[in-house]
């Protein structure tokens, strides 16, 4: 098992390298220059040139790439051009809101998606099933920012229950922090919850027709136990993959949600970095998100072992 984990982590290295090189090259092929954005419309040509020189942007691309890799090997992601601080520090400052938001959104997705998926499968064709799947369909189709703006209008402006935007860190108190995150988490979790409900339903429908479910029922096992122990547990393996991916998708989905709700998280940091062509910062964020994907996939694979004793990694 340990050997498997080590092998998987080693395999992640070429993946990360590929991500790093691709991001770097794509960014440097994109037109747009951080220096002209930074210095503003009044900047003279020599000011721009002096700053480009100071930032190393006048070097040929392969030299810049090699420099970046050399620093990367030392765990140094470089300095953000705009924020004037190390990229790792900038990301670390913004990690809390994003992770908290992603966690809450996953919770929303799971708490809504799983029960409705199971109930819809068990009561296939009933009003609940049709109703739940209709809502799920709408949930998947709705653009995140539109849902967000509507929630703000209803709960923020009309009912005045929740603040319309902003963020308070956990250190300000759990409820204070949560008040700001409820609407963003609902917004972000809705589409994934809907997806999860639909996946759960079809997985459950498949499993409910298996022989072992019929056998369990024939043995006189209570319906509740049949569904939860026999059916759901078996349906769960593909669902874990979906949930794992959900978490990863939510991290990148946080970009839009954070923008709408004015949450100073990593997603907002990324958008601003792109608008300002803050190369080191964009590269750093993309690398870290890619790393999260790799880790989440690994965790998902490891969970399989606990769910299904037949699976062995060696």
């Amino acid at each position: 098992m340990t050997r498997y984990i080590i092998r998987r982590l080693l395999l992640a290295i070429p993946v990360m390298l590929l991500v790093a090189v691709t991001t770097f090259l794509l960014l440097h092929m994109t037109p747009g220059d951080p220096v002209s954005v930074l210095l503003g419309p009044d900047a003279t040509v020599e000011q721009i040139d002096r700053m480009r020189e100071a930032l190393g942007l006048n070097d040929p691309v392969h030299v810049q790439l090699l420099n970046w890799f050399r620093n990367l090997a030392h765990g140094d992601l470089g300095e953000s051009i705009f924020l004037d601080k190390p990229v790792t520090e900038a990301i670390a400052e913004r990690a809390q809101p994003t992770l908290l938001l992603t966690f809450l959104a996953s919770l929303v997705a799971i708490c809504v998606g799983l029960p409705f998926g199971v109930i819809s499968a068990v009561r296939r064709g009933s009003t609940i099933d049709i109703g739940a799947m209709l809502v799920a369909m709408v949930g998947i189709s709705m653009p995140t920012f539109w849902l967000g703006l509507n929630l703000i209008f209803i709960f923020g402006v009309k009912l005045r229950w929740l603040p319309v935007q902003g963020y308070q860190p956990l250190s300000e108190g759990l409820w204070t922090s949560l008040r700001y995150l409820i609407m963003p988490a609902l917004t972000l979790g809705a589409a994934q919850g809907a997806l999860l409900a639909r996946m759960t339903r079809s997985m459950m429908l498949e499993v409910l027709h298996e022989d072992y479910v019929r056998t369990a029922r024939a043995k006189g096992v209570s319906e509740r136990r049949v569904i939860l122990r026999h059916a759901l547990r078996n349906a769960f393996i593909p669902l874990v993959t979906v949930i794992g991916l959900t978490f990863a998708v939510l991290i990148s989905g946080a970009v839009v949600t954070e923008q709408v709700f004015g949450i100073p998280g990593a997603g907002q940091l990324l958008i601003r970095a792109v608008n300002r062509r803050d190369f080191p910062l964009i590269q750093g964020i993309v690398l870290i998100v890619a790393l999260l994907y790799v880790i989440i996939n690994l965790i998902v694979d490891l969970i399989y072992v606990f769910l299904d004793p037949r699976i062995h990694y060696s």
Binding site: T30, D33, P41, V45, I48, P163, V164, P264, N275
Partner: protein, 437 residues
């Protein structure tokens, strides 16, 4: 604000600046001549305007702790206009010396509010400066006596326009910038919200690339395109209903001391047929005209589309390239990469401060008469004479079809009705403003 008085000597060649005594910096030190000299030397090196002004400076000397002598090589009546702009800030000598050609490490000024903290992309917090040395004159926008009634002012970046107005309605913000004009009626119906349609503000128009590398270096071609434009629909596309824009050929707004309607015979001609003839006479062969635009600023894209349509009706072929603002800014600095782009410029400033006048700015307007007029404006100490030069400059700007100026566009701001003493200035400020519950 920091001067007791200024003596202008030798017909505008020498300015003796008498500093106010007892003015404290935010770090507690008193502002003296050494600070002023160090600050202005830094300004001369770093600011574009500072470079322009100091190209004429012969000497900047300390006479005593409260007197500075600024000597020019020729009369420079314009000096006060330059020195009142925010880039000519006065900071302690220690800070100016620590960052002679780069970003300041600390932000220390003399104003009624001082910086408490800045968290990038989160907020900037200003607090009242208790030792502020207030002037005795009555308040007058940025001049006169200023009183800081607020303990703290927080500037929070909120990128979503809808959320800015929602937060204003729900009382999470006291003041909001750049609100959606589509929300005007809804916001107007809110009893606790006051709206400000800010004019004068900026004027907007399309710049031509007048460098040799662009076909727009042909003045007749530019004039043909200018002749085709019907300004009203363009203004409407950019800024919505009439409340939010006004037409006119002026560079500086009618409310300003530098207003003139010179050049109006070239403005708003809306004559596509004549434009077609002029295009042919100018030798236009149907080569696509490269227009760089962005959707990041809605006026940029919307005005561009309407103007493109009007120019095409006169027979021009427009290659409308949409990109993000960062790309546009870097592309427009390349002489061979574009022919037209739209942007805005403040209409409440002295015209000499406009960035598009010097030939180094994208647009690259090279013209010897322009240079003479700019020098004349800089030297002139008599406002009436200065206005004559400004009128001639504006006339030249139009007759050379440097730019298709379309309209002034307003920005919509909103604030809670409890905010009093704000007085709707063009550049917002919260001196002498308070809350009345």
């Amino acid at each position: 604000m920091l001067l007791e008085s200024a003596d202008i000597q030798e017909e505008g060649k020498v300015f003796v600046l008498n500093l106010r005594q007892g003015v404290k910096f935010h770090n507690g030190e008193e502002m003296k001549a050494d600070d002023v000299i160090a600050s202005l030397e830094r300004y001369a090196k770093l600011s574009g305007r500072g470079k322009t002004l100091f190209a004429r400076v012969e000497g900047l000397d300390k006479i005593d702790d409260y007197t500075v002598r600024l000597a020019f090589n020729a009369p420079t009546g314009i000096a006060p206009v330059f020195l009142q702009m925010p880039d000519a800030i006065i900071i302690p000598k220690s800070i100016a010396d620590a960052a002679p050609d780069g970003e300041m490490g600390e932000f220390i000024g003399t104003g009624p509010f001082m910086l408490k903290e800045r968290l990038p992309d989160r907020y900037i917090s200003l607090v009242r400066f208790e030792d502020y040395a207030k002037r005795d004159e009555p308040p007058n926008n940025f001049a006169g006596g200023k009183t800081a009634y607020f303990d703290e002012i927080r500037f929070i970046p909120v990128s979503e326009q809808a959320v800015r107005s929602d937060g204003l309605i729900t009382d999470e913000f006291d003041f909001a910038e750049d609100l959606s004009k589509d929300n005007f009626e809804a916001l107007e119906a809110e009893p606790s919200v006051e709206l400000q349609i800010t004019l004068p503000y900026y004027f907007y128009g399309a710049h031509f690339n007048k460098s040799e590398e662009s076909m727009m270096s042909n003045r007749d071609l530019r004039m043909a395109l200018l002749t085709a434009i019907d300004m009203e629909p363009v203004a409407r596309a950019g800024f919505g209903d009439e409340r939010f824009w006004r037409l006119g050929p002026e560079i500086s707004a009618p409310e300003s001391a530098w207003y003139t309607d010179a050049g109006k015979q070239y403005y708003d001609l809306k004559d596509p047929d004549k434009a077609r003839e002029m295009l042919q006479a100018a030798g236009y062969d149907g080569t696509p005209i490269r227009w760089i635009a962005t959707k990041e600023y809605s006026y940029n894209y919307n005005m561009g589309l309407v103007m493109k349509d009007q120019m095409e009706k006169a027979g021009a072929v427009i290659d409308f390239q949409v990109m993000d603002w960062a790309t546009l800014v870097s592309q427009r600095s390349q002489k061979d990469a574009w022919d037209i782009f739209i942007t805005g410029h403040p209409s409440y400033n002295h015209p000499i401060l406009q960035v598009f006048l010097p030939e180094t700015w994208p647009g690259w307007w090279v013209n010897s008469r322009k240079d003479e007029l700019m020098t004349a404006i800089i030297e002139e100490t008599d406002p009436a004479k200065q206005l004559e030069y400004i009128a001639e400059l504006q006339e030249l700007w139009w007759s050379e079809a440097c730019m298709i100026k379309v309209c002034e566009g307003a920005t919509l701001r909103g604030y809670r009705t409890r905010l009093k003493g704000y007085n709707n200035p063009t550049d917002w400020n919260f001196f002498n403003a308070w809350f009345e519950e």
